[in-house]
Subunit: 140 residues, 2 copies
């Protein structure tokens, strides 16, 4: 499903309004490759000559996350990083403390053990994030 369409469904279900500003923010999201924070998204909006205020960009991001158009991926330098993927499926991240490179990985064994731990604590998981910090092979 297309991002605009996905967001439209969400908006309708919530009784919100599908404004041109929100559409323009989604265009900017699509133009970005990789991981980004809200400030970077705001820059992308301006770069595309879309006129959306900083306030509205900041207000739109949580909606995009709730709609599943973007995914909160990790924290870097105290900022929440997001990522867009048309066909998202879950993964975790390694973060190189020297060059800042982000490596994505999947490990179903870890996912399974997380669920086991949650059952043990009667904890209803809604999301999780694993970040491994260290030094990547290019920085040794």
């Amino acid at each position: 499903m297309d991002a605009q369409e996905k967001f439209e469904n969400f908006i309708r279900k919530k009784g919100l309004k599908n404004t041109s500003e929100r559409k323009r923010v989604i265009e900017a999201v699509k133009s970005l490759k990789g991981h980004f924070d809200t400030e970077k998204l705001y820059s992308a909006v301006k770069r595309l000559n879309k006129n959306v205020s900083r306030a509205s960009v900041y207000r739109t991001v949580p909606l995009l996350a709730a709609a599943g158009v973007v995914h909160e991926s990790m924290h870097k330098d105290g900022r929440t990083m997001y990522e867009y993927s048309s066909d998202y499926h879950h993964h975790d991240h390694m973060l190189c403390i020297k060059c800042g490179r982000i490596i994505e990985f999947e490990e179903s064994g870890i996912e399974g053990l997380q669920e086991k731990v949650c059952r043990k604590h009667r904890f209803k998981m809604t999301g999780h994030g694993l970040v491994i910090k260290g030094i990547c092979d290019k920085c040794v």
Copy 2:
């Protein structure tokens, strides 16, 4: 090893100075139970009638982390949370999105799989953090 002693060794190795302000910050760390951010630590310093400026408290925290006196545990509301433990051993966290409760857990299977993934990517892990978000048993 005591926290003061541990920090002293670190300070000496780095050629820094063991000031009374730094000692007072460590006293404040010891007075805190559980997880805290830097602002909360600064409050604790004041509560103990220790006179250390905000700037120095903020400057000291990264040193404490580097010395292993405190451990960076997770991000909550965009803030880095730390924790002190005289006999620290690694654990991960569940965070209840309703009440804010933090549950600690250990799962050696996950630790092992992380190492496996790192070997696969030739990544030299220096640290990691897993946060599971969801709803705790008291909030169902």
